[in-house]
Symmetry: C2
Subunit: 498 residues, 2 copies
């Protein structure tokens, strides 16, 4: 990557190589903390991780960087190096845009609010939450304003840009507005259609050892490279590690294999993105995954587009029989009905693919005006209740625990993240539109166990692109059009009304 004719650019790449290595250490010890570390190790680990974070922060805010960036931007660079330089500036801006005092205050207020939230949620204590949350919101608004000044974006756009570069609230308004116009009807129709269907629930116990073997076998089917990654266990499943060594975790319950299996499939989608980032750019910002929304498009491609499709369920059914013995519920048609069941509920993380966007739209419609000062934090519960009624027909009045207190995101001020979940689902549907156009017999091939065409396409248009383009540019290049909710709608209509 370093270019001898561009000494300042070379300095920048060397510093980022160092940062990449520090982040490697951070990822591995973070994985260890969640998957391996015994409880008494926590205090020393926290101190070691904080020391490393401080080192990473010092490196990202090295005062020489500003000069180097300006000088490098005058150097002669090829197109790839120029894209990398843009990402280096992006990282620099992210690390330097905010005064340290604000970052510290927000971290502190966020940690306090999140910590209290854990018990406040249990006890349905909205008033208690509100006390801490006011400060988090105040600091988040200040953060949004400073980022807006720095980037020239609107405040909410500036927050969202950290997670989904190039996507703006105007785009989201347009897209979510479209979804809002047809989703409630689609939910109703799907439920009417499913009301008459009989569904058998698999009966456990499903031994953990058998689940482990099954999960690994399915990961293999989905192309996970076990020479460059692992599957372990943790209380909260996640995809961690580094591109060269991806660490997935899951959690087992002997009553229910599907939660772990489908969760592992979801994480495998994240893992394949990481495992297939462009080797030649690894170590530089250009070589990392583009965005949270695109990452989610990969996990949902695996879980929703592929694994819950009828052809793929047909592949899974014999594996279930092999590992758990046969039972009537393992009939592929039954499994497919079970895993595509639509049921409006209070909780986002438990939602099916059809009702999920409603949860996200609701949060977006609250957090945007909240950040921009159009509404206050005390307005949240009423808006929540009103929107849950309108979107999902559920009454959540007074039930904060299963309502506006259910997510961790707001407690630490992670505003602008929620849209990524549904953008991811929509990107995934759009990718599969393209793939299906290109490979008309896709279902037949998947049914025969050949999932390679899907991943070949993802490798070419998404994984190998790293951070070369903004998300909207990548969407355009990969699919020939901007993000278009018609693909997501088409997918849902085919699967749930077809």
């Amino acid at each position: 990557m370093p270019e001898t004719a561009a000494p300042y650019y070379s300095e920048l790449t060397r510093l980022h190589t160092r940062l990449y290595r520090y982040q490697h250490l951070s990822s591995i010890v973070g994985w260890d903390r969640n998957a391996m570390m015994p409880p008494a190790g926590n205090e020393a680990r926290a101190a070691a991780e904080a020391e490393l974070s401080a080192l990473i922060h010092r490196t990202r805010t090295d005062p020489r960087l500003e000069t180097w960036l300006k000088a490098a931007e005058q150097e002669t660079l090829d197109e790839v190096a120029r894209a990398n330089l843009r990402e280096i500036r992006r990282d620099w801006r992210a690390a330097n845009a905010l005064p340290e005092a604000l970052v510290e205050a927000k971290t502190l207020a966020g940690a306090r609010c999140e910590h209290a939230w854990r018990s406040q949620r249990q006890s349905n204590d909205w008033k208690g939450f509100l006390e801490n949350f006011r400060e988090v919101l105040r600091l988040s608004r200040e953060e949004a304003k400073l980022l807006a000044d720095e980037t020239g974006l609107a405040p909410y756009d500036a927050l969202m840009d950290r997670f989904e570069p190039g996507v703006r609230a105007a785009d989201i308004d347009h897209i979510f507005g479209d979804v809002r116009s047809w989703l409630p009807d689609l939910i109703t129709q799907a439920r009417v259609k499913q009301a008459g269907e009989a569904v058998l629930v698999p009966q456990g116990p499903f031994p953990v050892a058998a689940q482990r073997t099954l999960n690994r076998e399915v990961m293999g089917l989905l192309g996970f490279d076990f020479d460059a990654g692992r599957l372990d266990e943790s209380a909260h499943p996640f995809s961690g590690g580094v591109p060269e060594d991806v660490r997935l975790t899951t959690r087992y319950s002997e009553d229910d294999f599907a939660r772990s299996l489908l969760g592992t499939i979801h994480e495998t989608g994240h893992a394949r993105y990481e495992q297939n980032l462009p080797r030649e750019w690894l170590g530089q910002p250009l070589g990392s995954a583009r965005s949270y929304g695109l990452h989610e498009s990969q996990s949902l491609s695996c879980e929703m587009q592929l694994a819950r499709s009828r052809p793929f369920v047909g592949l899974l059914a014999p594996l279930l029989k092999k590992h758990f013995g046969d039972q009537p519920a393992f009939d592929p048609d039954n499994l497919y009905r079970l895993w595509t069941r639509v049921k409006p509920g209070f909780i986002r993380v438990d939602a099916d693919e059809v009702t999920y966007p409603a949860h996200v739209i609701l949060r977006y419609e609250i957090e945007r005006p909240l950040v921009e000062g159009e509404i206050g934090p005390e307005d949240i519960p009423a808006l929540w209740a009103e929107k849950m009624q309108a979107l999902l027909g559920l009454d959540t009045r007074g039930n904060f625990k299963d309502g506006c207190l259910q997510d961790v995101h707001w407690s630490d001020g992670s505003f602008g993240y929620f849209p990524c979940y549904t953008l991811g689902a929509m990107y995934a549907a759009q990718w599969f539109s393209v793939i299906r156009r290109k490979i008309p017999d896709l279902d037949t091939r998947v049914a025969a166990g050949d999932v390679k065409p899907v991943f070949d396409w993802q490798r070419e248009f998404i994984w190998s692109q790293g951070c070369r383009w903004s998300t909207p540019e990548l969407v355009q290049r990969a699919s020939g059009e901007a993000l278009n909710p018609a693909h997501f709608r088409g997918h849902l209509e085919r699967r749930y009304l077809g």
Copy 2:
């Protein structure tokens, strides 16, 4: 630990707290590399670990340290802080005594020699080894000379002081000279005595899952704190991690449970030392384990003094029955005979407790004159053959593979380490002399499952002392006398001739 009245000393302690945290990261990712990392992760990990090593080296050689040390040595400090300051200087000297060019050259030559040694050992290629080894030796002699100039010690003493602070070749000569005078006879007598004993070998397979559970149960019996550590698997078993979170590994074979069990017991001895270092000094050099010899005294206290004693074998026998089912070989008397079998052999790491010192004495008697230039590297094979004949009655002429090529230590220039193994065995025997004097019914208590008195003593006199004293001082304080080979001899005579 920081003292406000001693600003320079405080600076030093802050820097060492930072170092301690960096070393925490290094230990955990090192453990991960050996116990968890998939093969394709290696290249990125090596780069990340090298970056961290460079950072640790920069921190230890921070040019401000020299000034701070001199100034701190003029400050008013209590006795404990003064001991810590002494250890801080020791660490500083270790990091700064050698010119960087020499360190690099030795690392390079050592890595090259060790890498080639791996195949040269297999093919019995002494001549090939010698070619690389000459350079390693040349650089090691230079290293020894510089360390000698710096410390005022003799060259070999200066090397050994890195591993066993305060112990000199004159002490070793005296002690090993004594052992040499009675060991060959003792070996012969023990073999004559054992010749008439029938020994049954346990018959496998011993399922790995059962071995895992057994090992954990025995670790628990020996006081390993599973809230502050783990047992995992790796190709080369080791004790790693950090004092707050000790990571042991072992390796399983279904044919032989004893290798893994006794190896795990050995590592548990190392682990208990680490897990019980003085909490209040952790993070400072004073809070770390004193030396390699003392560390080995802890593993050998567990393995040789305790676990292979008849009373402890009586505790293990019912556990073997519980986990593997009953068989005649699990009779405690048989197990005891089996695990105290004396048999001279070529290979140090496979040696029993009685013949082991012969392997170490031989190496010491070669490496000392080698480092000090009294002999050349080409003299090694003849000396090896002569000493193997004299000490163990074995003919190793021409068999380099199982002779002077068997160990990794010389290939990378780790001269001065070998004595630690036998010092450890002798310290352990001396500790048990003291413990037995203090607790005359020790065997009865161990037979009843009460091993606490042993560990209470170790905690008070060894673990809690960290680096407060040099090794000879600690030995004197713990046992009331200097290291005395009579205790080791007494132990061997009681166990093998009694």
